[in-house]
């Protein structure tokens, strides 16, 4: 039996790419995905014929792996199309590492693309069709504006239990924007202040439009290989030291405790596999669908105590120059958010560890954490990454 500890660092991300982030009118989801995939494979120093494992997921197509295999011309011996919302692509890591370790495959391509901002069939239509394909009969009659209402409900509870304020939430959006201003790929780069966020259009109290992620087009892809092979490829390998996924519920009304997410379990397991603690992490990429996410995940992943997320982020503490660099690309709030963001959190972590962050580079970053969230605080997947020196 191969233990999780034995899998620590056994695979490394050898190539990454993003494509079409922002607005890419006239493109299909598949075209964006395929372009990102091609670039990630090239970045890894490989050819598409070397790819014999595929991980992908779509927010709309239920058999998405098949058209992706067809489009890319693959013959994969390993396929994972598990759909866990925006956490999917981080959740794909552990099974892929097991497949690589067993020899089932040698190079896994993880890829996602969405033209949801500019496509004729966009977020509104996906939400409408889900009512039939994936019903939630005990929530839909009350017309929650999902996913926003679910996060607003969680935020209300966090404020009630811990005294978290709208200013604390705004700190998250302001920090994300400050990072985005250093990232040429970010979609929104105008200055943003706490007052701008507090004065923005309220959508679901206490969350404003500026507490909410962008709706953009975009694609992301990365290539995972065994660590020994990664050493012979052109890019500096970024090893997966620990990773885990946890799901406790689907609906926000079924969440056991609206202020504690399954990230508590995914984080604990990922850190245990990595043999590291939150204090060992140099750069943190969290799925910030809404500002409250960042507070919840900082707490649940152990960067601060439960309820202290608001205090933790105050005064620009997660912005450039703060005590902990969080969402250094600008996150889903200011950089890119094509429906499912998790893969972009992971890609930014890889870029930081490779030292490719440009003006936003966190100096000397050796370890990073990437965290994906899916559904309405429903699915949580955590990855702890490190350079070879951390093995």
């Amino acid at each position: 039996m191969t233990t999780l500890k034995q899998l620590r660092g056994s695979a490394a991300i050898a190539g990454v790419a993003t494509y079409g982030c922002g607005e890419s009118p006239g493109h299909t989801d598949m075209e964006l995905l395929a372009e990102a995939a091609r670039r990630a494979v090239s970045d890894a120093g490989l050819a598409m014929k070397d790819i014999d494992g595929l991980c992908t997921a779509s927010a709309s197509a239920t058999m998405w792996a098949m058209p992706v295999v067809e489009y890319l011309g693959l013959r994969p011996s390993y396929i994972d199309s598990t759909m866990l919302g925006g956490s999917s692509f981080i959740a794909h890591l552990l099974p892929a590492m097991q497949a690589l370790a067993s020899g089932q495959c040698n190079a896994v391509l993880v890829c996602y693309g969405s033209a949801q901002r500019t496509a004729t069939f966009g977020r509104r239509e996906v939400v409408a069709s889900r009512r039939y394909l994936d019903p939630q009969p005990y929530e839909t009659p009350y017309e929650p504006m999902q996913p926003l209402s679910a996060y607003a409900l969680a935020a209300s509870r966090h404020m009630h239990e811990f005294g978290t304020t709208r200013c604390d939430l705004a700190e998250v959006a302001v920090a994300a924007r400050a990072w985005a201003r250093l990232n040429p790929e970010a979609f929104m780069r105008d200055p943003l202040s706490i007052d701008d966020v507090l004065g923005a259009r309220m959508v679901c109290d206490p969350l404003t439009v500026r507490d909410s992620c962008l709706v953009t087009d975009g694609a992301g892809a990365f290539v995972l290989v065994r660590a020994d092979r990664a050493r012979d490829l052109p890019r500096e390998p970024v090893h997966v030291l620990g990773t885990a996924t946890a799901v406790w519920n689907r609906q926000i009304s079924s969440m056991h405790d609206l202020t504690t997410t399954a990230a508590r379990d995914s984080g604990r397991a990922a850190f245990a596999m990595a043999g590291l603690a939150p204090s060992d992490i140099d750069v943190v990429e969290l799925y910030d669908a809404f500002t409250i996410n960042v507070l919840l995940f900082l707490e649940d992943l152990g960067f601060c105590a439960k309820g202290e997320g608001g205090a933790f982020v105050r005064g620009g503490a997660i912005a450039p120059g703060g005590r902990l660099p969080v969402n250094t690309n600008g996150g889903g709030l200011s950089c890119v958010h094509p429906g499912m963001y998790g893969i972009f959190a992971l890609i930014e972590a890889v870029r930081q560890l490779r030292g490719e962050g440009g003006d936003r580079q966190v100096a000397g970053a050796r370890t990073a954490l990437a965290h994906g969230n899916g559904g309405t605080l429903s699915s949580q997947a955590t990855a702890v990454l490190g350079l070879a020196q951390t093995l």
Binding site: A152, V203, P206, S253
Partner: protein
């Protein structure tokens, strides 16, 4: 040819349909597990706490408190702002619903509420809540 025992007799309607039929008749029911005695909502065919067979549908007291709250902003011409709450019943289960009879902005966490079934003409019954005022709280 053999037959599985599960196909030998009709199994009747599912618990969601039976629960909805009760709502349509103006009755709000939750479930109570006969094995572990815990309350269950939304209704399902097994107990999510202990795995026992389908918990019985039972009438709750109908009282509880707002556990989490949001106001969904909507243009006045589209009907205006409305409340979406998660209510915790005194039995310990939670459900999404809304508090009626007061401005959405006045609905606060901790507000004591009582369930009421609304059946729109020709529509499906749903559970909404009203604030409990005065001595009844």
């Amino acid at each position: 040819m053999t037959h599985s025992s599960t196909t030998s007799k009709p199994i009747g309607t599912g618990v969601l349909a039976r629960h909805q039929a009760e709502l349509d008749a103006g009755r709000f029911l939750i479930q109570r597990c006969g094995a572990c005695q815990r309350a269950v909502y939304f209704p399902r065919v097994l107990c999510p706490h202990c795995g026992a067979e389908e918990p019985a549908l039972v009438a709750p007291a109908g009282t509880g408190a707002v556990y989490a709250v949001t106001t969904v902003r909507r243009k006045p011409e589209a009907g205006g702002d409305y409340n979406v709450s998660i209510v915790e019943l005194d039995e310990g289960v939670r459900l999404m619903s809304r508090v009626e009879g007061m401005p959405p902005a006045d609905v606060r966490i901790g507000l004591r509420v009582r369930a009421r079934v609304v059946v729109p003409p020709g529509g499906s019954g749903i559970v909404v809540f009203d604030a409990i005022t005065g001595d009844a709280a």
